[in-house]
Amino acid sequence: MVFKLFGNARSRPTLRVAHILKEMQVPFEFVAIDVQGNEHKTAEYLKKQPFGQIPYIDDDGFVLFETRAICKYIATKWRGQGPALFPDPSDLKATALFDQALSIEYSNFDNAAVNIAVEKVYKPKYLNKPTDEALVAEQVSKLEAKLEGYEAILSKQKYLAGEYVTLADLYHITFGFYIVEEGGLMLFTDEAKYPNMARWWKDITSRPAWLAVKGGL
């Protein structure tokens, strides 16, 4: 049975999963969920995703949600078929540093990036609501405080978990690309301020798999 991705063509988390499927060269069927019609809040949907969120996957009857768990599953199952997007699981320390990098994205990047995306892109573009610029400024300064930490790491190594690209790097694209490209913020593309982060950003966002999905599904 073909791998099924249930989500929304415009949703960034859905796109994150599609990106990793492309990286690993896994054919999949995209099933659109009617988010505007609140399909994801129905009792039927909650059987698959108890929190009523998108996306989720169905891999021949194995149902999984939460994008980071899904992407790790894909990168593990098809490991031999695409790039190795995480270290050899038998290497305890390399694995721990990879897990550390995953948490860095979640603790220091995701929340501010999502909040900026909501204000700068979702609200004006899809909800016809004005951007709360004060909130954007607050979130940008929260994010900028963390970018020093990124710069320190990336001045010593090529990627967040070491010398090889991993899922932890790629997860930053999901909202990072959005706020840079559509939100018009410089942030980590500022070569004068964060030369190593800018180098890293250019590297991860020029991957063919990302270029193939960045326009949407």
């Binding site: 929190f51 009523g52 721990a96 948490s103 860095i104």
Partner: protein, 219 residues
């Protein structure tokens, strides 16, 4: 060399690491970070933790930060002692469900409980008034997410299946503090019997009771 934990006994993310060390019967040396004196923002500290947070560990020269990564590292390194806390790493689906459960905590629990901890526990310690609006909003948010927990826990004993994992333990520190400051959603048996059954089960583990006792003794 003894594993060293740098943190604060009362800090929720430090407590996550301690509960796993106790589950695994690993001896360790605890080094208190002087957060009031801002040790964790000093350049020498940033060499070990570039984001200036705690906890971090030093395991014979191997430096690691981020509590979930540390929990996993300890659980993997000492897989054969204490409760396993992780599925067999060779089991693809069980591992994916454990990671799903860790993400559920990070997406649907911690974003609501940590602000309550900051407002109702952290701020009063520093003599600052809590922002009750933030608390109200987070209680409402958590209340709705716990419906998802109830659906999961009606079908299985723990969040990742029928065995306890680090994902369950990750809930303990903030869950305990919100109960203490009067947010009793986890203990309302009539509203969500399975959540409460699960919460009581993890809360009463001897490992967690030891962590709570040492935090309380130090205040």
């Amino acid at each position: 060399m003894t594993l060293k934990v740098y943190g604060v006994l009362q800090a929720t993310f430090t407590q996550r690491v301690l509960v796993v060390l106790k589950e695994k019967n690993v001896s360790y040396e605890f080094i208190t970070v002087d957060w009031a004196g801002k040790t964790h923002k000093a350049p020498s500290y940033l060499l070990n933790h570039p984001f200036g947070q705690f906890p971090y560990i030093d395991d014979d020269g191997f430096i690691l930060y981020e509590s979930i990564a540390i929990m996993k590292y300890i659980a993997l390194k000492y897989r054969d002692q204490g409760a396993p806390l992780l599925p067999d790493p060779g089991d693809l689906k069980a591992t994916a469900l454990m990671e799903q459960a860790c993400s559920v905590e990070a997406s649907n629990f911690n974003p609501f409980t940590t602000p309550i901890v900051i407002e109702k526990y952290g701020k009063p310690i520093r003599g600052v008034e809590p922002d009750e609006e933030v608390v109200k909003e987070c209680v409402l948010g958590l209340d709705s997410k716990l419906d998802g927990y109830e659906l999961i826990l009606a079908k299985q004993r723990y969040l990742a299946g029928d065995s306890i994992t680090i994902a369950d333990l990750a809930h303990l520190p903030t869950g305990t503090i919100i109960s203490r400051v009067g947010v009793t959603l986890l203990e309302d048996f009539t509203k969500r019997p399975n959540v409460t059954r699960w919460w009581r089960e993890i809360y009463t583990r001897p490992s967690w009771q030891e962590v709570v006792a040492s935090a309380d003794a130090k205040i």
